[in-house]
């Protein structure tokens, strides 16, 4: 039988994979990254504090795994655009509605941001982590999370014509 840690871990997989994709932008590498993070999480589950949310802890493990890996990777191969999801691929010109267009523009604007700003946006606005949780995942002060997040969102708003 699965215990609650395992159930919770399974439930967090989509968010973990999303985060992994945003880091590496390659589906195959993202899946391996998630698997690596799961293995490390299982091996170190005694270090998990049950009073904390599981997701930020998992994100941190996954991000560390990514740093281990990406810093050692001289060449990254071909990166895919994360916006090439099945949904985005069906855009055919006639059925493009405004919301979908805005979505694409948002993704494009997001992709153009500096990595450190995008990372914070993904954790806070996509994965709905608190500022404090995002700071914990990234190993940076909360004030740094806030300045990166606000700079990133101001830049997004400018690119998207929101004022």
């Amino acid at each position: 039988m699965e215990d609650s840690f395992e159930e919770h871990l399974i439930a967090a997989l989509p968010a973990l994979r999303r985060f992994a994709l945003s880091l590496c932008r390659r589906a195959d590498i993202a899946d391996d990254l998630v698997q690596t993070a799961v293995e490390r999480a299982v091996a170190h589950r005694d270090q998990y504090d049950p009073d904390m949310r599981l997701e930020p802890w998992l994100f941190r493990i996954l991000r560390n795994a990514w740093i281990d890996q990406s810093r050692r990777r001289a060449t990254r191969g071909t990166e895919i655009d994360v916006t090439v999801s099945p949904e985005a691929a069906t855009v055919d010109g006639t059925r493009v509605n405004e919301a979908r267009l805005m979505l694409r523009e948002t993704e494009e604007a997001l992709a153009a941001l500096p990595d450190d700003q995008r990372e914070v946006i993904l954790l806070v606005c996509f994965e709905e982590l608190s500022y404090a949780e995002a700071a914990e995942v990234l190993g940076i002060p909360k004030g740094t999370v806030m300045s990166r997040l606000s700079r990133g969102r101001v830049a997004l708003a400018e690119k998207l014509g929101i004022s």
């Binding site: 299982v42 990777r73 608190s130 190993g139």
Partner: protein, 252 residues
């Protein structure tokens, strides 16, 4: 568009519901008095909504069944047996052996202090008393690479290959660099050097026996590195811009 009293960070935190009640009340009052502040808050609310939409669209991507199956298998085998670190394989590229390496200068200066599981030896030197800081290490070529090579890049040094992995600051405010040296007779050395007033000092070296197939390294080696980095209060890896700035600083 800056406002005198309220930073973007604070207005954003208000829009995100991250402010304490007393401060939030002050911001509300300010927004009522100044429509520009209200607009600024609304703008942060809009980016939040938009990003939420984008997140929902991405969330609709299904989880690959084989990934979930693999994860469930991992959980099953973890339940079935005690954790076995040798099963955790680090996820890194295999490398080609160099062909013309003369390891004497590097290898002679490295002390192998302790044998560890997974084919790794650790040699650690906190105070430079012995071992790693022999006269030959870091060699001028390696010191030069530490001074200039951006993380992620490789350079031939002393007949081996030097790869800069990451830069970070330790709790003493020293610039430290994680790097790897690869050579057939040395194997691979994962190492950390920090810049003191007198130059680069090697602080940690993990030396790995090269697997015959040049294959995966046990993750335990990287975990040990993590533990070491934690022990010296290593900050997050510097971004490439910050690293370039730090290296320029070193060069002055």
């Amino acid at each position: 568009m800056k406002h005198q009293d309220w930073s973007d960070e604070t207005l954003m935190a208000y829009a995100d519901g991250e402010l304490d009640a007393p401060v939030a009340k002050e911001v509300e009052a300010a927004a009522r008095a100044d429509p520009r502040i209200a607009e600024r808050i609304a703008s942060f609310g809009k980016t939040r909504d938009l990003l939420k939409e984008a997140a929902r669209a991405r969330a609709s991507d299904p989880l690959p069944p084989q990934l979930e199956a693999k994860v469930r298998e991992t959980l099953r085998s973890a339940r079935a047996e005690a954790p076995d670190s040798s099963k955790v394989t680090a996820f890194r590229q295999s490398w080609e052996r160099g062909s013309n390496f003369r390891p004497t200068t590097i290898a002679a200066s490295i002390a192998l202090a302790a044998g560890l599981a997974g084919g790794f030896f650790v040699a650690q030197n906190r105070d430079g008393a012995d071992g790693l800081r022999g006269p030959a290490f870091p060699t001028p070529e390696i010191a030069g690479a530490l001074d200039t090579l951006a993380s992620g890049r490789t350079q031939d040094v002393d007949g081996g290959e030097f790869q800069a992995i990451a830069s970070f600051m330790n709790s003493d405010g020293e610039l430290c660099r994680e790097f790897e040296l690869q050579a057939p007779e040395l194997g691979r050395m994962v190492s950390v050097a920090c810049r003191s007033d007198t130059g680069w000092q090697q602080r940690l070296a993990l030396i790995e026996d090269v697997a015959p197939d040049g294959g995966y390294a046990p993750a335990s080696s990287l975990e040990m590195l993590d533990i070491y980095l934690g022990s010296i209060g290593a900050g997050a890896p510097l971004s490439s811009d910050d690293e370039a700035a730090a290296l320029r600083e070193v060069a002055r």
